[in-house]
């Protein structure tokens, strides 16, 4: 509640034209931890370990820095002293906490930089391919009227195709078409976003008057989805179990 108040006050005093913004999002996994499913043959100890990792995600924050034409997203995930390193590492993997995103609205691209089977790689897709469905539904978040937009995407793995839903609330009053974790392309800043069962909510927006010194993008190899599938087969075969 306090964070929301700070956000509200900050926004009120920050309505001057800016050259770039810095946004920080809190992360909540409460829905995930409350409904973690039992799966036949999976021991309780493994399920409990997953639950702890899901809870640790709540300690992380994810950030965005953006001009009107370019954006960059990353997650802050330093291991706290009092937690199990492996459970925290798993939490980072679950969230994609080591992933970085670069968006360029003029070029209509979003690049995702990540590690795949020990290699630094990135994928590239078009921002317009997010295929947002805009709605008239709205709600107030802080001082801002936010409109709802949704999209769906699919994750294919060995157990089949998993359909995921994303619900975003964006405000046209902050004219930056970005959000957390590489999401963007809406007519305003995403203030709240629910990606499947993980929720991201803005806790701080800073409007900066100076030019942005853009973060250096990781040196990585461009890969396609097809190449990633091939990399998976090779990694699986090399591991031998």
């Amino acid at each position: 509640m306090n964070k929301l108040l700070i956000f509200f006050v900050f926004i009120v005093f920050s309505q001057t034209p800016s050259k770039h913004i810095v946004v920080e999002y809190d992360i909540s996994t409460s829905e995930l931890t409350a409904n973690i499913p039992d799966v036949d043959k999976v021991p309780k100890s493994v399920i409990e370990s997953f639950k702890k990792s899901f809870e640790l995600i709540n300690q992380m924050t994810t950030s965005l820095v953006a001009t009107k034409s370019e954006g960059y997203c990353w997650t802050t995930n330093e291991v706290p002293n009092d937690v199990s390193t492996s459970e925290y590492e798993t939490a980072i993997i679950m969230l994609g906490g080591n992933d970085k995103y670069y968006l360029n609205l003029n070029k209509d691209i979003v690049n995702k930089y990540f590690n795949a089977y020990g290699e630094k790689v990135y994928t590239e897709k078009k921002i317009k391919d997010f295929n947002w469905v805009l709605s008239k539904d709205s709600k107030m978040i802080g001082d801002y009227k936010c409109f709802k937009a949704t999209l769906t995407y699919e994750v294919e793995n060995l157990s089949g195709v998993h359909k995921k839903k994303v619900t975003a609330y964006y405000t046209p009053e902050i004219n930056y078409s970005y959000g957390p974790m590489g999401y963007g392309g809406l007519p305003g800043l995403i203030i709240e976003l629910k990606d499947d069962k993980i929720t991201y909510v803005v806790n701080n927006v800073k409007f900066k008057d100076e030019d942005l010194k853009f973060p250096k993008l990781p040196k990585s190899k461009l890969v396609t989805e097809k190449e990633l599938k091939e990399m998976y087969k090779v990694a699986k075969a090399n591991r031998g179990w």
Binding site: F50, S86, I93, N157, D196
Partner: protein, 78 residues
């Protein structure tokens, strides 16, 4: 002379590291199953192949570290 020295060294080694039946076995056999079930669960929850694979790797490494710690602790105390 060399033969005698070799025999003496063997005797000293066998005395200090002799295994007895009650000594626990410390190996990584259980780690493969633990890592496999972790990856299996991640897949069931809908994580993509890259993340599930990475979670399996992390679980395996965690298990290996735990076995090493337990073995070191046991041999320090015995």
């Amino acid at each position: 002379m060399a033969m005698v020295l070799f025999m003496v060294s063997l005797m000293s080694v066998s005395n200090s590291n002799e295994l007895i039946e009650s000594d626990p076995v410390h190996n990584y056999d259980g780690c493969y199953g633990y890592a496999w079930i972790t990856e299996f669960y991640a897949v069931q929850l809908g994580f993509d192949s890259i993340r599930a694979h990475e979670m399996g790797d992390t679980a395996f490494q965690d298990c290996v570290d735990r076995v090493d710690r337990e073995a070191a602790q046991y041999w320090n105390n015995n």
